[in-house]
């Protein structure tokens, strides 16, 4: 039995070794990216591999959650936040380089309703109607698109009525998924996700109703390959990268209305 125990220990150490070493063989550039970038960055990722031959992996989540993880030491090479204040917070926490900060896009907010769903709103305020039994927004506490959605609903005078039937998504991608699967009647999400999602109706929300969603990225230093992070940042801000971002409905720095 003692032999069994030592055999188990050997198995454990081998498993830990292979799990740890295999990852070290082919280091990928690790990008922590706001959930609204899910579709656009997947496409840029393929372009990045073509240009540099380097692998890149994305961890999509709410900007606030990713900033928390970065501050606790998560080994990312680049942080693409959906809101510039979170990029600043990651810099203050010592996880990312202040000098590398750049604005790369401004996000647009839309209402997404499923085709074949009970109703499609003509204005944001219509979400107060009973036809919309449940409305999803991202959690305003840590997701910039959720914060903007709440603000827009407040300024449109619909928050009082909508607040009772709100469902919070952990991030904006999950928020859209609630509507896609028909579990809520409408979702307030990022245009960048809506354009890549079939089977829905999109109502743009007047940007004057909320503070601008200025998205910023910063190169981070606790990952294995900050230079890779820098290279991906350069791709996002290159002519090619901007073309992709524009296709996904982002407004770009220097060409905003």
């Amino acid at each position: 039995m003692r032999r069994v125990l030592s055999a188990l220990l050997v198995v454990a150490s081998i498993a830990i070794d292979t799990a740890a070493c295999k990852k070290a063989d082919k280091p990928a550039v690790r990008v922590a990216a706001a959930a609204d970038l899910a579709f656009a960055f997947e496409q840029l990722g393929a372009e990045f591999v073509r240009q540099t031959g380097k692998r890149v992996t994305f961890s999509f989540g709410s900007t606030g959650l990713l900033q928390q993880q970065l501050s606790q030491g998560a080994p990312f090479d680049l942080f693409a936040a959906a809101d510039v204040t979170f990029a600043d917070a990651a810099v203050r926490a010592g996880a990312c380089e202040a000098a590398s900060k750049s604005l790369y896009a401004r996000g647009q907010l839309v209402v997404w309703t499923r085709e074949g769903g009970p109703a499609h709103p003509a204005t944001l305020a219509e979400l107060a109607l009973p036809a919309y039994a449940r409305v999803a927004i991202a959690n305003p506490d840590h997701a910039p698109y959720g914060r903007a959605a709440k603000e827009a609903l407040q300024r449109a005078g619909a928050w009082e009525a909508v607040a009772r039937k709100i469902v919070y998504g952990e991030n904006v991608r999950q928020t859209l998924q609630y509507a896609q699967t028909g579990n809520v009647e409408a979702a307030v999400v990022a245009l960048s996700l809506a354009v890549a999602t079939k089977g829905g109706t999109v109502l743009p929300i007047d940007p004057a109703l909320h503070a601008p969603i200025d998205q910023a990225l910063v190169v981070c230093t606790r990952g294995a390959d900050p230079e890779g992070g820098r290279a991906f940042a350069a791709l996002v801000n290159s002519a090619e990268g901007r073309a992709v971002m524009r296709r996904f409905g982002f407004l770009l720095p220097g060409e905003q209305r």
């Binding site: 498993a15 799990a19 990928a28 606790q72 080994p75 699967t181």
Partner: protein, 220 residues
């Protein structure tokens, strides 16, 4: 169908089960020994991970092995990498969930061994340690094995603590349960389907095998 997250899940679960086996049998044996003081209190403490929410467990793990903890700092000084947000974090997260299952089963299995058999070994001159390893542990082995299988299945499926402690980094810490969560969020159900099927089949197989093992023990 993605194989990498499943493969990582298996590696993490094997490592976690091995760690839980060593610690769990040791702690189970301590709890099964009548001379151990306040053993029901300790039993409750060791069982806590089964009833606490993953967020609470994740918090404790972050506090105890995070980058600002003594343990986390020592690990980082020696290996150059932190425990959190690496595969080591995923292993710790999976171990936390499976350890109580192993402890519980080991304690029950060891307690069910007829004390007369151990006493007989002692009268024949075996030291307490030798009697434990050559008589008690082999007699309890099917119960312990059942606990290990449950622990393995639990480790394979951990989600909450892994997400908090290891993050969700594809190819590094993205285990199958995290990859499934990601795939469903981005509405790529097809990508999740294979992993869902494998995890479900495996869970059912483990439970079936555990039932068989338990019956084997009861019949003996």
């Amino acid at each position: 169908m993605q194989w990498a997250p499943l493969a990582l899940s298996f590696e993490v679960a094997i490592a976690a089960t091995a760690l839980a086996a060593v610690m769990g049998v040791l702690l189970g044996a301590l709890l099964a020994s009548r001379r151990f003081p306040a053993r029901d209190l300790f039993d409750a403490l060791f069982t806590l991970p089964m009833v606490l929410p993953p967020t609470v467990l994740g918090y404790y793990v972050l506090v105890s092995i995070g980058r600002s903890s003594a343990l986390g700092r020592a690990f980082e000084r020696v290996t150059g990498s932190s425990i959190v947000f690496t595969v080591f974090g995923a292993i710790v997260a999976a171990t936390v969930g499976s350890l109580p299952l192993v402890i519980k089963s080991a304690r029950a299995a060891l307690e069910s061994v007829d004390p007369a058999l151990v006493a007989a070994a002692r009268t024949l001159g075996a030291s307490p340690l030798r009697a434990f390893f050559t008589v008690k542990l082999p007699l309890a082995s099917s119960g312990i094995l059942a606990g290990l299988m449950l622990g393995f299945a639990r480790a394979l499926g951990d989600f909450g603590v892994t997400l908090m402690v290891a993050g969700d980094i594809p190819g590094e810490t993205q285990t199958a349960s995290l990859a499934i969560y990601d795939a469903i969020q981005s509405n790529q159900d097809a990508r999740a389907a294979g992993m869902i099927a494998v995890l479900t089949a495996l869970g059912a197989a483990v439970l079936y095998a555990v039932n068989r093992l338990t019956r084997l023990r009861n019949e003996r």
